[in-house]
């Protein structure tokens, strides 16, 4: 691609990213639901299940240290899913048809909302991490751990965004919103959400090792869980899982976009 072609592509991508973010300025409290719901879950789960850290063999003596990365991932997933719901609204309003009639490179129509998801997720993730730090857990994983937590959350917001975009392009209706968010909810909680693998029982003990989110959580938990020390062994499964999910949902979103375009 020529320099002018690259500049044009970059300009379109930037404009679409900026448009997705402008909504936050227009809709007051637009980030509130994606921040508040995971925060309530964090505090509620801590209050209900906080004594689980007393179990013999639990990898940390602070249950909130176990929960904070979960809530960060949940918030990132909701922020990502919200961009899919917004795209569904754009499709219903006819705005997306106008984009399709423009000569903009097609992948950019997806990249704009995905970049917006990445930016949007940083706010709730930081708020939840800060709340968690105030309530107790130290950052046992140091800078590397924090970097892995943010990388896990940001990448998961991309996955959730691609999932949301795929469903929005398929349904072409805002009614798909709850399905997008429920998908994120299921993916996050059918994992080691509340306890580590050895403590899971029944069908969840069978399902959780096959859920890629289990490994993304392990990657993020290097930041706060003392029993999961920062290491390559705790990182590469999460990276692999994220790469696989981004590739899978990216392909699905592009395929759905091509269908809509035709």
């Amino acid at each position: 691609m020529s320099t002018s072609g690259l500049a044009y592509t970059g300009g379109v991508g930037f404009a679409l990213w900026r448009r997705s973010l402008l909504e936050l300025a227009r809709v007051r409290g637009g980030l509130l639901p994606t921040t508040l719901a995971p925060l309530i879950f964090l505090l509620g789960s801590l209050g209900q299940f906080g004594r689980l850290d007393q179990l013999v063999g639990f990898p940390t003596t602070s249950y909130i240290a176990w929960l904070v990365p979960l809530s960060c991932l949940q918030a990132a997933g909701f922020a990502g899913g919200a961009t899919g719901a917004n795209l569904a609204r754009d499709i219903e309003a006819g705005w997306f048809d106008r984009l399709l009639s423009s000569p903009a490179p097609r992948p950019l129509l997806i990249l704009g909302p995905v970049m917006a998801a990445v930016t949007r997720c940083l706010v709730p993730v930081t708020v939840i991490l800060a709340a968690g730090l105030v309530l107790g857990p130290g950052l046992t994983g140091g800078l590397f751990g924090i970097a892995m937590l943010y990388l896990a959350a940001v990448s998961f917001s991309i996955v959730a965004s691609l999932w949301g975009i795929t469903l929005a392009l398929r349904a072409r209706s805002q009614q798909v919103g709850p399905l997008i968010q429920n998908g994120v909810f299921v993916a996050v909680f059918l994992s080691t959400a509340y306890t580590p693998l050895p403590f899971l029982k029944g069908w969840l003990a069978v399902a959780a090792p096959y859920n890629p989110v289990t490994y993304v959580l392990q990657m993020g938990r290097q930041a706060t869980v003392s029993g999961i020390e920062p290491s390559w062994a705790h990182t590469w499964p999460g990276l692999l899982a994220l790469a696989g999910m981004v590739a899978l949902f990216g392909l699905l979103a592009l395929r759905q976009l091509r269908r809509v375009d035709r």
């Binding site: 639901p33 508040l36 719901a37 309530i40 879950f41 505090l43 509620g44 789960s45 801590l46 209050g47 209900q48 299940f49 906080g50 004594r51 689980l52 007393q54 179990l55 013999v56 009614q175 709850p178 429920n182 909810f185 299921v186 909680f189 059918l190 080691t192 959400a193 509340y194 306890t195 403590f199 899971l200 029982k201 029944g202 069908w203 969840l204 003990a205």
Partner: protein
């Protein structure tokens, strides 16, 4: 008013309440996308909590109830009834925004009957939820020593709890008339749920939550359900559960009627 006229008026209002209850249920069934989450989300959380936190039974102080899923299912029922109450509020807000509510107000029916119709419809949904959740728990190994009587009492508590939640949902919807506000109240269902011993015994909650749970009527309802299902006063007082549930119904329905009158005046 003569006795005959009074009897006729009561009969008329009874028919109005039944008709509005039937309509509430029909509308909820038609809008399955609104109703389904109140059945599916609690089941999903039950599955996750029952499998993900069952190691809690090893904690000192955790009551010996045999099956963990049997212990936590009361919290699931509570979650279902709270969601059903929220859906009732959403349906009322939808009626207000859609104009149907104004048509109801212009009809010669008692204002309280309009609220009661919606509350009774939600109570029926609460019963359906409780039957489903208890059946699932039984299928996954729960054992309820309280027998049929215990199960029946728990279902009755669920109906009262759903009525109270519907009263609260109706009060907020009638006061605000905003559909989007009602939809944004979803996270607060979890606040109400988590400040009660929904999934863990009260003694094992965090100290702050344990203190707050004392003033939350849902604490006594969920413990009453456990007391009935396990026929154990150590797990909760059934009488206290019914008192808390009935009190909540009266309070929230009174709030809803008051909000209705305020809406009519404005």
């Amino acid at each position: 008013m003569s006795t005959v006229a009074l009897e006729r008026d009561v009969a008329t209002q009874g028919r109005v309440i039944v008709a509005l209850t039937e309509r509430a249920l029909r509308v909820q069934m038609r809008r399955a996308q609104f109703l389904l989450p109140s059945f599916l989300l609690p089941l999903l959380l039950l599955a996750v909590i029952a499998s993900g936190t069952s190691a809690a039974q090893q904690l000192p102080g955790f009551p010996s109830t045999g099956s963990y899923v049997g212990f936590v299912v009361s919290g699931t029922i509570m979650q279902g009834t709270l969601l059903a109450g929220l859906m009732a509020g959403i349906a009322i807000a939808s009626d207000i925004e859609g104009g149907f509510f104004d048509r109801l107000l212009s009809a010669p029916v008692n204002r309280a009957s309009i609220v009661l119709g919606r509350v009774l419809g939600t109570a029926v949904i609460g019963i359906a939820q409780a039957v489903l959740f208890l059946s699932v728990a039984l299928a996954f190994g729960a054992d309820f020593p309280g027998g049929i009587v215990g199960v029946a009492l728990a279902i009755l508590l669920a109906a009262l709890s759903a009525s109270a939640a519907a009263g609260l949902g109706a009060a907020i919807a009638l006061r605000t008339g905003s559909l989007s506000l009602m939809q944004n109240l979803f996270p607060f269902v979890f606040v109400l749920l988590f400040i009660a011993p929904a999934f863990f015994p009260r003694e094992l909650l965090s100290p702050v939550l344990e203190t707050i749970s004392v003033v939350n009527p849902l604490s006594y309802v969920v413990e009453g359900m456990r007391g009935a299902l396990f026929d154990s006063s150590a797990l909760g007082s059934v009488a206290l559960g019914f008192a808390a549930a009935a009190g909540s119904v009266l309070l929230t329905c009174a709030l809803a009627v008051w909000a209705m009158r305020a809406r009519v005046r404005s």
